[in-house]
Every structure is written in C-alpha cells, then in structure tokens.
Symmetry: C2
Subunit: 156 residues, 2 copies
Amino acid sequence: MAELHPVCAPLAFLLGTWQGTGAGIYPTIEDFSYIEEASFAHVGKPFVAYGQKTRDADTGLPLHAEAGYLRPQGDGRVELVLVQPSGIVELLEGTVEGSTVQLASTAVLGTASAKPVTATERRIWLDGDVLRSSVAMAAVGRELQHHVVSEMYRLS
Amino acid sequence: MAELHPVCAPLAFLLGTWQGTGAGIYPTIEDFSYIEEASFAHVGKPFVAYGQKTRDADTGLPLHAEAGYLRPQGDGRVELVLVQPSGIVELLEGTVEGSTVQLASTAVLGTASAKPVTATERRIWLDGDVLRSSVAMAAVGRELQHHVVSEMYRLS
C-alpha cells in the first residue's frame, strides 16, 4: 500500500468502501429508493479515486453509477471530476471542512444522446459512523433542487 | 451475470480485463513506457463501463488512470464519456466497425488546476488476440498528435 499523499489527508475519512440505502425524487419521475455501494481509494498520488453504483431497492437491478476523482488543492479547496453512464460529465469545485465535502458544478456537459443536466450540487459528510451523501440537480429544464440522499456504513 | 444489452453486442469483443505494455511520447515531456491494465464490463444496460490504470515500466509506480462509459447508439455510432485524475473530462463520438472503435473528442474540459488539453482522438482495436489502444492529444498549446500506444492481452 502506498502512503497517503499529504494533500489527501483531509479526505482520509472517506477512504474505504461504504454500503447503504438512499432515496430519490424529481418532479419529472417517480420517487425511488435504492441500495448504494461507494468506494474511495488512493494510490499515493494527490487525488482520491471515487466510484459508486446503485441498485433498485425492490428489484435489485442496477440503476445509477458514476466514477471520478477528488482533487484536494491543499488549502481546503477540492475539485471533483465525474463521469456517468448516462453520458454526462461534471466538473465541480468546493471545500472540505472537517468531515464535510461540499461541491458545486462549474460545468456539466452531455453527449448528443444524453438528457440535459445543467448544474449539480453535491455534499458528502460523515455523521458519526454514517457517511451521508446528497445531490441536488438542475435537469430537463428544471431549476436546481434536491434529487437524492443516501446513508452508508463502512464495509472496509 | 446480466445478459448483454443488444445495443452493446458490437462492443462484446472488448469485454473482460486486459494487460500489457505501452509507450508514450509528447514534445513537452520525456518519452516513457508503461504497464497497462484495462477492463470493460457491463451490467445489462446499454453501456460498457471502462477503466484503465498504468504503472511506470521501470519503477512500477502508478502513472495514469481513467474511467468512463462507452455508449453504443445502435447504428454503428459510439459515444465515450471519460474522466481522468489529472482533472480532465472528455466527451467523444465515433464509430465501432468490426473490431475497431475510433473516437474523436467533441469537448474536453479541465478543472482550474488541470493542464490544458483541448482535443483527443482515441482508437481501440483487436488485432488477432492483441487489444491495441492509441491516443492522440492536443495539449499545452500543441496541435493534435500521437501521444500513447499500447498492446494488451486478455487476462479474463
């Protein structure tokens, strides 16, 4: 195992694999609930690799997934670059303060066949031994609003 | 194991894990050689998840990584959305013909701290039992030109 890059120290609380449940809403779709597994890993370089997958809580079928990299800047600022199988990429900037990472998109782009997403806000925070994650999204012409929230427990 | 989504059938030759070696050049850096491992996976939905990591051929230390999703469009066209720990996201469009996927960027974006990359072209093709991969890149003010090429063999 490589030693954690010092710039990643403020994100050390994220490292590992987490599993739990979440719930999603948006005015254009039915409410839904899901099982989530997320991982945060490092290789000794100044970033943390992030991956996440969700499954439908009722059917077990795969729902969402995303992958990306957190780039701490050494001064409390954090960048996140993110990709989703729906054909969306996101660039986000924000901060890590204590056990809370708070990010807002500076750019969201989609391929020709992707649904239009124009902005997101993301928050990941450790609350006791629960890792909580929430996403607000502006999509399909709607303004930025709460979309999903989950709570996960450490698997490893 | 989920059944492969029919739209992914033209990309079935990629599915699995591959390992091999590669070489990189660019006018602004020293030539380098690397060990690469790449994987292509599906969950029954109309995309193929892609991930790749490289290590320095001499030191074994991690070099590059990227993650993304191939989105076949059912008519020979393919989209690729991609994220890199260097703070870069790419949207690419292209085609799959026989055992060759050929893609060109429609957008490349970087975070505030990322090195400027403005365009890429990517090719992945199966040559007998060798999976070959090449990337051309326009970065740090240079025009689009060959950057890396690798050859990998199937691990699983």
